[in-house]
C-alpha cells in the first residue's frame, strides 16, 4: 500500500472511504479495499462497511477475518440475508468443519428471538418495562381493568424483548474469537516450547478462556482447547 494514499484516506469521511473501498473492490484490488474499509470502520460501525470488508477479506483468502466481519454485520442487521449467506458460505469454506445438527425447535426459537436486532431489543426492553410499570401503577391507583390488561401485554412483550436481548448477548460474547492464520498449533501451555495438542486452521471459531502474557487459552467446538499466541486470533465482538 502506498503510505501517501493512506494519509489521503485518513482525512476522508466514512462514506468516502466506503465508496473508495467499493471502487477498489470492483477493480479487483481487494487488499486496498480492505484498508479503506478498515479506515471507514474505525470511524463508524456500520453493517455495510463490515459486510463489504468481509467480502474483500474473503477474496484475499482471509477466511477467518471475513467470518468475523460477516458475523458483526449480521448482528447489526439480522434481517439482511446477504450477511447470513456469506457467513454460512465462509464457514463452509474453512478447512475445519464444524457440524451443527439441525434442530428445528432451536432454529425456530432462534428465529423468533432474533427477529429483533440487538440494539432494538436493548432499547425496547427498557421502553416496555416502563410501559408495563406505568400501566400497573395506573391499575393499582385507579383499579382500571384496562390498565391491568395493558400491563400484562406490555409485560409479556418486555419478557420477549429481554429474551431476545439475552440471546444476542450470548452471540456477541466478547470471548468469541476466530483463527486468522492458515494453520495454528494449540499447545499444552502458554509458551512456544509446550507440546502441540491440536492443529486448527483459518476460520475456526473459538472461545477465549484465559490470558497469560501474549498467550491465550482457547476452547474449540467440542470442548478441547490449548494455548496459542493471541495474534493468531481476532476477537469477533471486541468490547467497547
Amino acid at each position: 500500500m502506498v503510505p501517501v494514499l493512506l494519509l489521503a484516506f485518513i482525512a476522508a469521511s466514512p462514506s468516502e472511504q466506503y465508496n473508495r473501498g467499493n471502487a477498489a473492490y470492483e477493480a479487483g484490488d481487494y487488499a486496498t479495499a480492505v484498508v479503506l474499509y478498515d479506515s471507514a470502520a474505525a470511524q463508524v460501525t456500520h453493517a455495510d462497511i463490515l459486510f463489504n470488508r468481509g467480502n474483500a477479506r474473503f477474496k484475499t483468502g482471509e477466511v477467518g477475518r471475513a467470518i468475523a466481519d460477516y458475523a458483526r454485520a449480521h448482528v447489526i442487521d439480522p434481517h439482511d440475508p446477504d450477511s447470513r449467506h456469506n457467513l454460512e458460505f465462509a464457514r463452509a469454506y474453512r478447512p475445519d468443519k464444524v457440524t451443527v445438527l439441525p434442530n428445528p425447535v432451536i432454529r425456530l426459537l432462534a428465529g423468533v428471538l432474533r427477529a429483533l436486532s440487538l440494539g432494538t431489543a436493548r432499547v425496547l426492553t427498557g421502553c416496555l418495562f416502563l410501559a408495563a410499570a406505568a400501566a400497573l401503577s395506573w391499575f393499582l391507583v385507579r383499579g382500571s381493568r384496562a390498565g391491568l390488561w395493558f400491563a400484562v401485554g406490555a409485560g409479556a412483550l418486555f419478557l420477549y424483548a429481554l429474551a431476545s436481548f439475552a440471546s444476542w448477548a450470548g452471540e456477541v460474547n466478547p470471548a468469541r474469537a476466530v483463527v486468522v492464520v492458515p494453520e495454528l498449533a494449540l499447545r499444552s501451555g502458554p509458551g512456544d516450547d509446550y507440546k502441540d495438542m491440536l492443529v486448527v486452521h483459518d476460520g475456526l471459531e473459538v472461545t477465549v478462556r484465559q490470558h497469560r502474557g501474549r498467550f491465550v487459552l482457547v476452547q474449540v467446538p467440542g470442548g478441547q482447547g490449548g494455548w496459542a499466541d493471541s495474534s493468531a486470533f481476532e476477537r469477533m465482538f471486541p468490547p467497547r
Binding site: L130, S137, P238
Partner: protein, 612 residues
C-alpha cells in the same frame, strides 16, 4: 416353538380322583409308605430318580411327605402322579389309591452317598421310609445305545454320536444331533452346521437350554426354527420324528483345530402313568461338539490385493455422477459380489488420485443365505472430494480372492472410471436440485453493498454490539420502579379512604376545622357573637369527632374527657378543651354571663386545637 402336549386326559383323571377322595373319609390305618430309586449306582453329573409312594384306601388325601435334607444332591425337578384301582369281590367294592412323588436328583460328588428317610404324618401317626444308599462313580453309568445298522447311503455317518446322557427312558428317546457339512476347511471357508431334535416319544415342554459356542468362527445364522417341522427320520435303526432347530454358517477366523460347541435342549416327555393318568418326565439332552480342522490359507501365490475374501467373487466399480460442480462430492462404489465370507472382506486399496481428496469408505452389506451358502454383495462407497477443476480418472482397482474349491488365488479388476470437475472449492448448496431449465453450476459470496452517492444510510438505532445505549433509555428502569412504588402507595391510601371511615374522617379533619374556624372568625367580625360561639363550638367538637372518629357532640363532658385521655391526649389539654367548650356554651346560652372576650376565646381555641 410348537410342542406336543397331552395334559387333557390327566386333568380329567385328577378331577375324578378328587371327587372320589372327597366322599371317602380319611383313615390312617392302612397306609403303605415306601421310597425307591431307579438305580443305586450312578455317574457324577447323571440323573437319579427318587420315587416316594403312598398307597392306601385314602392315599389321595394324605399330605405331601417331607423329603430329608439332601446336601449331596441337586434337585433337578419334581413331579407327582396318582392312580386308583377299584375291585369288586363278592359284590363288595374295594378301592386302593396310590400317590407317587417323583424327585429328579443329580449327585454333587463321588463316593457312597445316602438318601435319608422321607417322613409322613397322617392322623397323628408318623411313617418313615428306609434310607437308600447310592454309589456315585466318576465314570458315566449310562448305557451306550445299540450300534446303528449300517445305512446304505451313510446318511447317519455325518451325525455325531448321541451325547452321554442319563439312561432314563426320556433321555433314550430324545436326542439333539449336530452335523457339519465338512470337518476340514480353509480359513475363511464356510462350514455349515445344523442342529436337529430327534424324538420317538411324546414331548411336552421343549426349549433350548444352552446355545452352542462358536469360538474362533465368524457366525452367520442361516436358519432359526420358530415352529418345529417334524419329519420322519431313521436313527440307529429306529424311526424318529426329527425337526431342524438351528443352522449356522461358520467362517473360521484362524487356523488350527476349532471346536463347534454343543447345543443343550431341555423339556419333558409325556409318559403314560396308568389307566387314567399321564406324567411328565423332564430331560436334558445335548449334542456333541464338532471339531473342525482349519487349514491356513497358502502363502504361495497370494496377491498383494488380497483382503481376506475366500469364495467365488466378482468385482465392479461405479461412480454416482460423471461430473461435479461447485465442489460437490463424487461417490465411488466398489462392489464385491459372490459366495463366500463376504462380510469378512476388507476395504480394497484404491490408488491415490491427484487433485481430489478421498474419504474413508462407508461399507454396505446385502447378504442372504437362502441356499444355505452365504451369498450377496458388499459395497464400499468412497466419497471423493474434488480439490481442483479438470478431468479425473479413477484407476483400475484390483482385489485378490482365494477359491477354496480350486485351492488357488485369483484376482478381479475394475475398469478405469472418469469424471469432470468444475468450480472446485465452492460448495454447492443446490447440488442435485437441478429442476426445470435452471442449472446451478456454482455459488459464491454475495457481492458487496453498493456505492452510496449520498453517503452511508443512517445507522439502525443502536445497531452496534459495542454501541452504548442512550442515556434516556437507562432511566426507564428506575422510573418504572418508582412508578410501581407510587402506584402501590397511592392505591393503598385510596382503598383505605374508601374502606376505613375513621381514617377518612381523620384525613379530612384538619381541612374541616380550618374551614369552620374561618366561618367563626367571619361571624365574629360581623358582631354576631352568639353565632360565633356556636360555630366555634361546632368547629372544636367536629374536629374532635373527626380526629378520633367519635360522636363528640353527643358526649357529656366527662365522657369526652375520658375518651380524650384514653386516646393519649394530655390531661391539661383535655381539661382546657372542656373548659373552652363550656365557655362557648355559656356565651351562647347566657351572653351576659360570659367572662371571656370572643377574640380571646378564638385564640384559645386555636391553641387547644394545635395542641391536639
Amino acid at each position: 416353538m410348537r410342542t406336543q402336549r397331552g395334559t387333557g386326559k390327566s386333568q380329567t383323571a385328577a378331577v375324578a380322583v378328587a371327587l372320589l377322595a372327597f366322599f371317602v373319609p380319611l383313615v390312617a390305618g392302612d397306609i403303605d409308605f415306601t421310597a425307591r430309586v431307579d438305580r443305586t449306582t450312578v455317574g457324577l453329573g447323571e440323573q437319579l430318580t427318587l420315587t416316594v409312594t403312598v398307597t392306601g384306601t385314602n392315599a389321595g388325601r394324605v399330605p405331601r411327605p417331607r423329603l430329608p435334607v439332601l446336601p449331596d444332591f441337586d434337585q433337578l425337578g419334581t413331579n407327582s402322579s396318582q392312580s386308583t384301582s377299584i375291585s369288586f369281590v363278592n359284590g363288595r367294592m374295594t378301592q386302593q389309591q396310590t400317590t407317587s412323588y417323583i424327585y429328579y436328583l443329580s449327585p454333587k460328588r463321588t463316593g457312597g452317598l445316602s438318601i435319608g428317610a422321607a417322613r409322613l404324618e397322617v392322623g397323628g401317626e408318623v411313617y418313615e421310609t428306609q434310607p437308600i444308599a447310592v454309589t456315585v462313580t466318576k465314570e458315566s453309568q449310562a448305557q451306550a445305545p445299540p450300534p446303528a445298522a449300517p445305512g446304505p447311503g451313510g446318511f447317519w455317518d455325518q451325525f455325531q454320536r448321541p451325547p452321554s446322557q442319563p439312561s432314563t427312558p426320556a433321555a433314550d428317546n430324545v436326542h439333539v444331533l449336530a452335523s457339519a457339512d465338512r470337518t476340514t476347511a480353509y480359513q475363511g471357508e464356510q462350514v455349515t452346521v445344523s442342529y436337529s431334535f430327534y424324538t420317538r416319544t411324546r414331548v411336552g415342554e421343549l426349549q433350548v437350554a444352552e446355545m452352542p459356542s462358536f469360538s474362533g468362527f465368524w457366525v452367520e445364522s442361516v436358519f432359526d426354527a420358530r415352529e418345529l417341522d417334524y419329519q420322519e427320520r431313521e436313527y440307529r435303526g429306529a424311526r424318529y420324528s426329527a425337526a431342524l432347530i438351528k443352522k449356522v454358517a461358520l467362517f473360521p477366523t484362524r487356523a488350527g483345530e476349532l471346536t463347534v460347541g454343543a447345543m443343550k435342549m431341555a423339556g419333558t416327555v409325556v409318559r403314560p402313568g396308568g389307566f387314567f393318568f399321564e406324567s411328565a418326565e423332564p430331560f436334558l439332552v445335548s449334542s456333541s461338539p464338532i471339531t473342525v480342522d482349519v487349514k491356513p490359507l497358502p502363502d504361495a501365490g497370494k496377491p498383494a490385493s488380497f483382503s481376506g475374501g475366500v469364495g467365488q467373487f466378482e468385482l465392479s466399480a461405479r461412480l454416482d455422477r460423471d461430473s461435479s460442480t461447485g465442489g460437490e462430492p463424487v461417490n465411488l462404489t466398489v462392489a464385491v459380489s459372490g459366495t463366500g465370507n463376504i462380510k469378512l472382506i476388507g476395504v480394497p486399496e484404491v490408488p491415490r488420485m491427484a487433485g481430489v481428496r478421498m474419504l474413508d469408505p462407508e461399507t454396505k452389506d446385502d447378504v442372504g443365505s437362502q441356499t444355505g451358502r452365504l451369498k450377496g454383495t458388499r459395497e464400499f462407497v468412497y466419497p471423493i472430494m474434488p480439490q481442483a477443476d479438470g478431468r479425473f480418472s479413477v484407476p483400475s482397482i484390483e482385489m485378490g480372492f482365494f477359491d477354496p474349491e480350486k485351492q488357488v488365488y485369483y484376482t478381479r479388476t475394475t475398469p478405469p472410471l472418469e469424471f469432470t470437475v468444475s468450480g472446485a472449492g465452492l460448495r454447492s448448496e443446490a447440488a442435485g436440485a437441478q429442476t426445470g431449465g435452471v442449472r446451478v453450476v456454482g455459488t459464491d459470496i454475495v457481492h458487496i453493498k453498493p456505492v452510496r452517492a449520498a453517503g452511508l444510510p443512517p445507522r439502525p438505532v443502536l445497531a452496534g454490539w459495542n454501541a452504548a445505549p442512550p442515556a434516556w433509555s437507562l432511566g426507564f428502569y428506575p422510573l418504572g420502579i418508582a412508578l410501581m412504588v407510587l402506584g402501590i402507595v397511592v392505591g393503598r391510601h385510596r382503598r383505605r379512604l374508601e374502606q376505613d371511615r375513621g381514617y377518612a374522617r381523620m384525613r379530612r379533619s384538619s381541612g374541616l376545622v380550618k374551614k369552620r374556624l374561618a366561618e367563626a372568625t367571619a361571624m365574629l367580625r360581623q358582631g354576631r357573637e352568639a353565632d360565633f360561639h356556636a360555630a366555634l363550638d361546632r368547629a372544636v367538637l367536629g374536629y374532635i369527632g373527626d380526629r378520633f372518629n367519635v360522636e363528640a357532640q353527643r358526649m357529656t363532658g366527662d365522657e369526652l374527657r375520658a375518651e380524650l385521655t384514653g386516646r393519649g391526649v394530655a390531661t391539661g389539654t383535655a381539661v382546657e378543651l372542656l373548659d373552652l367548650i363550656r365557655t362557648c356554651d355559656a356565651a351562647r346560652f347566657s351572653p351576659g354571663m360570659a367572662s371571656c372576650r370572643p377574640d380571646e376565646t378564638l385564640a384559645r381555641a386555636r391553641r387547644v386545637l394545635e395542641a391536639l
